[in-house]
Symmetry: C2
Subunit: 250 residues, 2 copies
């Protein structure tokens, strides 16, 4: 069943109205007609099964039939902080990390980030990023759309990291060190509902100075398996293994 | 340390010689000189630390200093059979699945595969596919390069599946069914060293007929978390969660 994320002010107690891109998608892409059933998700994470009652020139009105309980959200809040990568990798990470259940996606300017993005570029790009995570959430049948944060400096990443329950960073040294603690030793100490910040360096990884500062800010260095992963692959391993531990083992 | 995969006939008891792309990479890309150290992996999976002794016009000779024990290979053999996807997704899957430890990568023609590839196209594409998995293996510091199989028909996939110890297929119905068995219930019954075949449908998933035939051929339907993943995301979840269970929990 097609799912739409509808902003709060489009809901009444009995019905929901869709317009803009969603109107276009219902009418022109899905070619739906009165009587068809859709899923509508409220920003609070609740989802209702709705029946299309009226299709106007700019608005589709649908009647709420029942609220459904199912949730496709991870039982933990996972934020991915990604060192700004090259090319279109950031958009790729936004899509894949959303499919895999991330709650928040943060890009930060790493010492070894080849690209530099100023505020102007971020403002220009944001609508596209929002569109990517909205569409990925819809196709993954998620109940919530992840937040996309602008590009942070490394310092502000450290400052804001105090607000998370558990903090990790992907560190190549951990892969080399065969004696290093295993990922499960960390995951098994995370409680349901915890907020987790996973920090991944850009293509060149973290500088020694960054690694030192992360450790000082009580980020724990982890490896994502014994292989060296590309920067855009590491967040997918992190989210998949967290899903396995929290959703497929319990 | 830079790693090169060197074919068997380039090895003697004491030295190894590199030419072609590897020669170019050592001399022109890495700008290495006599005395520099490289890692050379033998097709059998063993890796040796080698010192460059002589750089000719077409060949680099390196002396074997020591064989190193470390292995970055999964303790199980994972084969991914992917329903032929659209665009360049197959190449993307080849790269990412290699990073994540796959042993074999198979494309098959699914009922819902939009694209159709004939033998001619496969022969033309193969060198590029081989290059992608070789480079991904090198950057991931793997000891082995995965096999890339040509495009199989669905029937030959079923026939050849008898050679694998455990067989799974990603089935959307399993995501919808909240009562379905969890992935861990299956993974925890897999023995070290087992060969596992994971079958993933193209964009439209499996047809009902394909799902019936897969079950008849004792493939077990599984979900990769409670979200609906795109065809190119499912193999990454499968490999990451297998790595978590077999490499990060034990």
């Amino acid at each position: 069943m097609q799912r739409y994320f509808v902003q709060a002010d489009k809901w009444t107690e009995y019905k929901v109205s869709l317009n803009g891109d969603d109107f276009h998608h219902v009418v022109n892409v899905m070619r739906m007609v009165v009587g068809d059933i859709i899923l509508c998700s409220h920003p609070d994470g609740m989802t209702a099964k709705c029946k299309i009652q009226h299709i106007g020139t700019e608005t589709v009105n649908a009647k709420i039939i029942e609220w459904i309980a199912d949730s496709a959200e991870l039982p933990i809040k996972v934020s991915i902080a990604q060192g700004l990568p090259k090319g279109d990798k950031w958009e790729y990470i936004l899509q894949k990390a959303t499919e895999l259940g991330a709650s928040e996606l943060i890009a930060f300017q790493g010492d070894r980030s080849v690209v530099k993005w100023d505020e102007k570029k971020v403002i220009k790009k944001r609508p596209r990023w929002e569109k990517i995570v909205k569409e990925a959430s819809e196709q993954a049948h998620r109940n919530k759309i992840p937040t996309v944060s602008g590009v942070w400096t490394f310092d502000s990443l450290l400052e804001r990291s105090v607000h998370y329950d558990c903090k990790f960073f992907a560190y190549e040294e951990e892969v080399r060190d065969r004696q290093s603690k295993k990922l499960h030793d960390y995951f098994s100490n995370i409680n349901q509902g915890a907020s987790i910040l996973i920090c991944i360096g850009p293509e060149g990884g973290f500088s020694e100075q960054e690694a030192t500062l992360l450790k000082k800010s009580s980020f724990q260095p982890v490896r994502f398996g014994p292989r060296i992963l590309r920067t855009e692959t590491a967040p997918l391993y992190a989210l998949s293994s967290l899903s396995y531990y929290f959703e497929e083992m319990r």
